[in-house]
């Protein structure tokens, strides 16, 4: 089998599962260690460098890192990475001094950002320190995009969002709030060097079943309704509310409805409970607020009496899968179910809409009327127009939008300095030995068997009586420390030096999870069947050394390595060493500029 190069950033980044899974590649293990050391400001800045909105994301992130967390493979539950991030944000000190310096003398390039959501703000954050002149156009009166108007404040307090948006705007971004761009052609004429479009996916899908016209007053598009609540236009909802849809917007809708007078709020989804798009924890939070879920309910008809909505009729369905694993929902024989209600909130997805982009200015659209955007560079067919966030490839989430912002900022910077934007700056890695003494490491290597800590919440009654009272209280310092100890420090790599190995088997014998095997070399498929422990997780690499003295190779299955360092502690010749990997992932400027 091919030898592994443990000094290759592409190899290492796969070992640090959480960081790899994070679209913005936040250095999770390092900031968790900083939190354990109560260095909250340092932890915050490390986050801020990668994900730009630690306080917001510490409350609202979709957490792609957590399903990837190695702890979730070793035992049941991953580390509560997201809520640890919040601890850093809540407890940080004054970080004003740590913000990057903004050059007084500008570089002469002007950039327009359309939409003040996470993607545009990330572009601004990356480009302002490089001396760009940035003009930000936003339809609403404040920045933040959907983070502000569609995420209810009992999940994300306004002051948290304000702080992190202002950190960027205060770099000297020229803002044009309350200014809706109605023609891209007109904006292009203003001579910007580049334009970034981060206008999100602003159009909520409508559920067009029988009876809709008659009851239009009491049927609301979820995201529009949430905005309307945010702006104070909607202050009440009927006592009985049906929320249709199974995503996170549906969860926000039903929980908001509970706070605006909804006493019997029900969620209905066409799919099964397990397949719902909403994050597991958001479903749990909704259920904790007494909201029942009716799954396999397909909407049939809005029911009205005297022009007033009285209920919603559903056909019960069941899921069947064809040979390709595609799901089909088949109506059951059961009689349709009627759920009585006064209001219906429809949260069945969002679409993009670009009525303000003229189709004859050189931006190509595909057959679904989406702009054609390069996935690497975020460039459209018009070289100085870039897309990011939900506007680029459809609705995703905040952390993906931030990642888009970083990528687009690199492209814009290369574009403005007349370089090839496909020549992306290279990744790098530093490996630093953590050895402090004979058996001492500079990280806490002992495995702590603690179970995942539960984030404390305010009492239900208090929570439901306020739109702005944050439900989650966040970890206190002690809980955060305990949770941080659950992190396996996957960024501390097991580095193996073949020529030092005397094949004493000490590492094999001590490894708690049987990761290490010395064996005759063979093709990967065979090797995976012959190791100390079954190696069935093909997504995880095998670390294969060169030949040791007896001609065998060392094979380490990365899958459930605890990074406990015992192999290195029991190694008499330091053939094993624990080395912290620091991935250097490029952002605009710095190493990117030549």
């Amino acid at each position: 089998m091919k030898r592994s190069d443990i000094r290759d950033p592409d190899y290492i980044q796969k070992v640090v599962d959480c960081q790899h899974a994070c679209p913005a590649h936040t250095n999770v293990p390092e900031y968790i260690r900083l939190i354990a050391a109560e260095r909250y400001s340092d932890a915050y800045m490390l986050n801020w460098h990668s994900n730009v909105f630690p306080g917001v994301l510490g409350r609202t992130c979709d957490r792609p890192c957590e399903p990837a967390c190695r702890r979730g493979r070793v035992e049941e539950k991953p580390v509560a990475i997201c809520r640890l991030k919040r601890v850093a944000a809540d407890n940080k000190g004054d970080i004003g001094q740590r913000m990057p310096e903004i050059p007084k003398k500008k570089n002469g390039k002007r950039i327009a950002l359309i939409g003040a959501g996470p993607a545009s703000l990330a572009v601004a954050r990356d480009l302002m320190p490089l001396g760009y002149d940035i003009e930000l156009y936003e339809r609403e009166r404040r920045g933040g995009g959907f983070m502000r108007v569609q995420i209810p404040s009992f999940r994300l307090p306004a002051e948290v969002l304000d702080e992190e948006v202002d950190q960027i705007l205060n770099m000297g971004v020229k803002t044009h709030f309350g200014t809706e761009i109605t023609s891209l052609a007109a904006l292009l004429e203003e001579g910007f060097d580049a334009i970034f479009i981060g206008t999100g996916a602003p159009r909520g899908n409508w559920l067009d079943v029988a009876g809709a016209e008659a009851v239009a007053d009491n049927v609301h598009v979820g995201i529009d309704w949430l905005s309307s609540v945010h702006f104070g236009h909607t202050e009440k909802v009927g006592k009985r509310v049906v929320v249709i849809g199974g995503g996170n917007t549906a969860m926000d809708c039903c929980r908001t409805a509970r706070r605006l007078g909804g006493e019997e709020v029900t969620i209905t989804v066409r799919s099964g409970f397990e397949e719902m798009k909403a994050s597991e924890w958001e479903k749990e939070d909704a259920m904790a607020e007494g909201i029942p879920f009716l799954n396999y309910h397909q909407p049939l008809e809005y029911l009205s009496e005297n022009g007033k909505l009285v209920g919603m009729k559903f056909q019960k369905v069941r899921a069947e899968y064809d040979d390709n694993g595609r799901r089909k929902l088949i109506a059951t024989d059961e009689v349709p179910v009627t759920v009585a209600c006064d209001d219906v909130l429809v949260a069945i997805g969002q679409s993009n809409a670009f009525p303000w982009i003229e189709r004859d200015i050189g931006i190509d659209f595909d057959d679904r009327d989406m702009p054609i955007v390069d996935e690497l560079t975020h460039q459209s067919s018009l070289p100085n127009v870039f897309f990011g966030g939900d506007a680029a490839f459809g609705p995703k989430n905040i952390i993906t939008a931030v990642a888009h912002g970083h990528a687009a900022a690199i492209s814009i910077d290369l574009h403005c300095s007349s370089q090839d934007i496909r020549e992306r700056p290279v990744k790098g890695v530093n490996l630093i030995s953590q050895k402090m003494g004979l058996h001492d490491w500079s990280y806490s290597n002992a495995y702590d068997g603690l179970q995942r800590r539960i984030v404390p919440q305010v009492e239900l009654k208090a929570a439901l009586s306020s739109m702005s009272l944050e439900v989650e209280k966040g970890f206190d310092a002690e809980q955060a420390y305990e949770e941080a100890r659950r992190c396996l420090n996957c960024d501390v790599q097991t580095v193996f030096t073949e020529k030092l190995c005397i094949e004493c088997d000490a590492c094999v014998d001590i490894c708690p999870t049987d990761c290490i095997t010395f064996i005759e070399d063979a093709p990967e498929e065979l090797l995976r069947q012959s190791l100390m422990a079954p190696s069935t997780n093909l997504a995880q690499d095998l670390f294969v050394s060169s030949e040791v003295k007896t001609g065998r190779v060392m094979v380490k299955d990365e899958d459930v390595c605890l990074h406990c360092g015992l192999c290195a502690e029991r190694c008499p010749t330091s053939a094993w060493d624990m080395q912290k990997s620091i991935l250097k992932l490029p952002q605009a400027g710095g190493i990117c500029r030549t």
Partner: protein, 350 residues
């Protein structure tokens, strides 16, 4: 420094017939030098007991003094243990075995504990055919006292300071053969593939089984000039007969194929398959085995593997005609037949 090996295991770790994982047979984390051969022997013992489905509470591990004799702390944490006096492990095993012949006895000793201070005890426990595994963790030096040569160090081999050994060595394998041991093997801590089946065979052997296991001392005897270093042993190792242990449950399955070598049937129905790597070698012939070993010694080779086995054995209890039931489980009335019985015995001598 880690003092605890995390209890967490590989999520797909296998379990034996008793429902135990290999990890359940472990002991505390080792405090020996990192890379010590003894730790590998501990791991091999753990593996063998796990694979044999031995209930940990039916095993007794008894040791003397020295690095080797510390190791029972590092394996079989749920078994009985007795860390005895220097060189006196055989006496304690004898006592325990007389009292309860139903336990599995693992005696752990070193080259000093066996070939020097305990030499007398060693020879007599072999003679008495005690049903046990006598494991010598043989590194050729006194590791606890800074690496002086032990009695098993080869003549002429160099100490860490470069001084050659002026004395002839004691070969414990030849001693055991001379004294009538019925299961004699030599292993190498750096080759568990060979060692684990040897231990499994020894634990299934119903008489005295001795394994002399070469175990490099990484701190004092792993240098150039040493004849007990990982490198030297790997270069001079001549495996003569490898064994592969087939448990009883497998032998009664129809798909079992005996293989090419000869077989030794163990008393519990399991089978030891022997594969001769040297055609001239006969593991059933004690005299030839001794000669072969002498030849190897002259040529500077280290013969390893299943060196001699005699499945037709009598153990101490057969010789002494003890009752079938272990003495420890006999009640007072049976152990003490009373005044009348004593008097009739005394009368028989008058």
């Amino acid at each position: 420094m880690s003092y605890i090996k995390p209890k967490v295991t590989h999520p797909a770790i296998a379990k034996n017939e008793l429902g135990f994982t290999r990890r359940d047979y472990e002991g505390s984390i080792s405090t020996l030098c990192a890379g010590c051969g003894h730790d590998s022997i501990s791991a091999a013992l753990i593996q063998a007991c796990y694979e044999l489905d031995l209930p940990p509470h039916r095993i007794a591990k008894i040791s003397g003094i020295g690095c080797s004799s510390k190791t029972p702390t590092y394996f079989l944490g749920a078994s009985h243990g007795f860390n005895s006096v220097h060189g006196r492990m055989p006496s304690v095993v004898t006592g325990a075995n007389i009292a309860n012949k139903d336990l599995v006895y693992i005696g752990v000793s070193g080259d000093g504990d066996t070939a020097s201070i305990g030499f007398g005890q060693f020879s007599h426990i072999v003679r008495r055919r005690l049903n046990m595994l006598y494991m010598v963790e043989n590194n050729g030096v006194y590791g606890l006292t800074k690496g002086q040569f032990s009695a098993t160090a080869d003549f002429g081999s160099a100490s860490k300071g470069g001084v050659p050994n002026p004395f002839d060595q004691i070969d414990l394998i030849q001693m055991a053969l001379q004294l009538g041991a019925t299961y004699v093997a030599r292993g190498f801590s750096g080759d568990k593939k060979q060692l684990v089946p040897l231990i499994k065979g020894a634990l299934s052997h119903p008489g005295f089984a001795m394994i002399d296991c070469i175990s490099p001392c990484v701190t004092f005897n792993n240098h150039e000039g040493s004849t007990r270093s990982y490198e030297y042993v790997r270069e001079h190792d001549v495996p003569v007969v490898t064994a592969d242990y087939v448990p009883y449950a497998k032998t009664i399955r129809v798909d079992y194929e005996p293989g090419t070598g000869t077989q030794v049937k163990m008393h519990d129905g399991s089978v030891l398959n022997l594969h001769k790597l040297d055609e001239d070698y006969d593991p059933y012939d004690r005299k030839k085995a001794i000669n072969y070993l002498l030849d190897c010694q002259e040529q500077g080779k280290i013969a390893t593997g299943m060196l001699y086995v005699n499945p037709d054995v009598t153990d101490f209890h057969d010789i002494m005609k003890t009752v079938d039931e272990p003495l420890s489980s006999l009640n007072y009335d049976r152990l003490n037949p009373g005044v009348e019985a004593l008097e009739s015995i005394n009368a028989s001598f008058r």
